[in-house]
């Protein structure tokens, strides 16, 4: 059983690590949802009160739903904006495609905070766009309506996500055998028809991967809303964070975090059922 020993030497360290620092904390978080208080004696009392609170709080559920819908649109628009870029790179850019791809991807590696900050600066009431308009004489006052809104959050996140979405779509398009397009033309398809009937369906795993890749973190997003969202742009993630940082209601925060996890796992599981894992992962 030499083979088993080899396998266990290779796999045990990461398996134990993931169990202790990933699976265990998630399970404990679930247990925590049943506790009455965050610390001290009340944390030892088990209760369903937080479930009751959460399920009867229409505003809270509404915010979760709104964040999910908002994430859906942000992800969809990101995919729609990124798809033509990936298509251009894969089918039209020829020799330069890897260079052009790198140009796009590099922006994804610029600090997340800085990219949000850039939009805070751009959109600010007396920020770059407003002040530029002012100095060009296009506008008299500042433009306070640009920032601190849901739209500002949407714009910023779409900006942040485009390179992340372009990569898996590009990888998906690259895996399509070019002779399939030729076969489609040969069988009488026009270019748009060939795209709709061959290219698009085959690139679907990449599209779905790109979509999920941004949808999931967007549902949990709280940094962008807190920087450019103001009071109207608040997302569910902000409330979760508040339970841990301000309200110190960890059990309710855990429950909200669990609700968020369940919401994002549903599309993930569906996608995993519909597509092969290796297609989604772009392997």
């Amino acid at each position: 059983m030499e083979e088993r020993r080899r396998l266990s030497i290779l796999i045990t360290p990461s398996a134990i690590f993931m169990l202790v620092l990933f699976v265990l904390p998630l399970l404990i978080m679930v247990v925590y949802t049943f506790r009455q208080g965050s610390f001290g004696p009340t944390s030892r009392i088990f209760t369903l009160a937080h479930y009751h609170d959460f399920l009867s709080d229409r505003a809270l559920q509404g915010l979760l739903w709104r964040s999910v819908v908002q994430s859906f649109w942000i992800s969809l628009i990101s995919v729609c904006l990124a798809y033509p870029v990936a298509y251009h790179l894969s089918f039209q850019a020829g020799e330069r495609k890897m260079t052009l791809l790198t140009i796009i991807i590099v922006t994804a590696w610029v600090s997340f905070l800085l990219r949000i900050l850039a939009w805070k600066v751009l959109l600010g009431g007396s920020g770059a766009i407003a002040s530029l308009a002012q100095s060009l004489g296009l506008s008299e006052e500042g433009m306070p309506f640009l920032i601190y809104s849901q739209e500002a959050v949407n714009l910023t996140l779409i900006y942040v996500w485009i390179p992340f979405v372009a990569l898996p779509i590009f990888a998906g398009l690259e895996r399509i055998d070019p002779s399939l397009h030729e076969a489609a033309y040969d069988l009488g398809c026009s270019r748009p028809e060939a795209f709709v009937r061959v290219t698009l369906p085959l690139s679907l795993p990449g599209v779905v991967a790109g979509f999920l890749f941004v949808f999931i973190p967007t549902v949990g997003e709280y940094v962008t809303p807190s920087l450019v969202g103001g009071t109207t742009g608040v997302m569910f993630g902000n409330i979760v964070r508040d339970q841990f940082v301000r309200a110190l209601n960890w059990p309710l925060g855990s429950l909200m975090s669990l609700a968020m996890l369940i919401v994002v796992l549903i599309p993930l599981v569906i996608a995993a059922r519909l597509f092969k894992f290796s297609d989604l992962a772009g392997l």
């Binding site: 290779l10 620092l21 033509p84 039209q92 790198t102 905070l113 800085l114 600066v121």
Partner: protein, 263 residues
Amino acid sequence: MELRNRFSLGSLYYWLVALFLYLPILLLIVFSFNDSTNLRFPLTGFTLRWYQELFGAGELLKSLWNSIWVGLWSSLAATVLGTMAAIAINRFEFPGKNIFIGISALPLVIPSVVIGVALLILYRQVFDVELSLLTVGLGHVVINIPIVLLIVSSRLAGFPANMEEAAMDLGASFWGAQLQVILPMSLPALVAAFLTAFTTSFDEYAMSVFVVGTNATLPVYMYSQLRFPRRIPIVVALGALIMVGSVVMIFVSERLRRAGEAK
């Protein structure tokens, strides 16, 4: 004729998107040389003041150092653990393999806030440890393992399955084959995985902020500074430097990755 048309249209769109992606970043860089605390037009004059003040900003530099430190160790740990797991996945069939892959990949696709919250509860309520750079670093290993696993296992899957046998046929032991053939063969992927893990750790805020102690990492410190408008230009100046640094690093790792793929 039609083809030419389509090409220029796609090309035009590409460059518009690229412009959209680069303009805000370039704007920040421009402002980092502007002689005003207000990030607004019109520009008031060229200065290197913010870059000079950077060297006096002790807290900022400390958090930078913390982030480099955490990044190096968490990426190294994730690269070692993830590579071992990738070799195991590529080489062995075992019960629960798909569950292992699924769980190991999951941190990549669940919101960081969830991981942050769960780890916070684990650290404070179960282990009762003080939050520190170690607690942040361990969290970073959790999100970096999937990255390493994906990059390295996709590289390993690209090789013929019998490389290990070929090495053993020539006299190498199992572990000798791993060290002398499998690892060197995957070296470009290991470097790429390490660099990707490092930049991920270096930039991580959403989870880190839950498990960081008083000793902040760079993103956590930067975020806290955004409340003070006078500090923003310095933060931007540091950001610009890091941006240049990370762009260089990404080009290096992409080069390596592609050099490896052009087998």
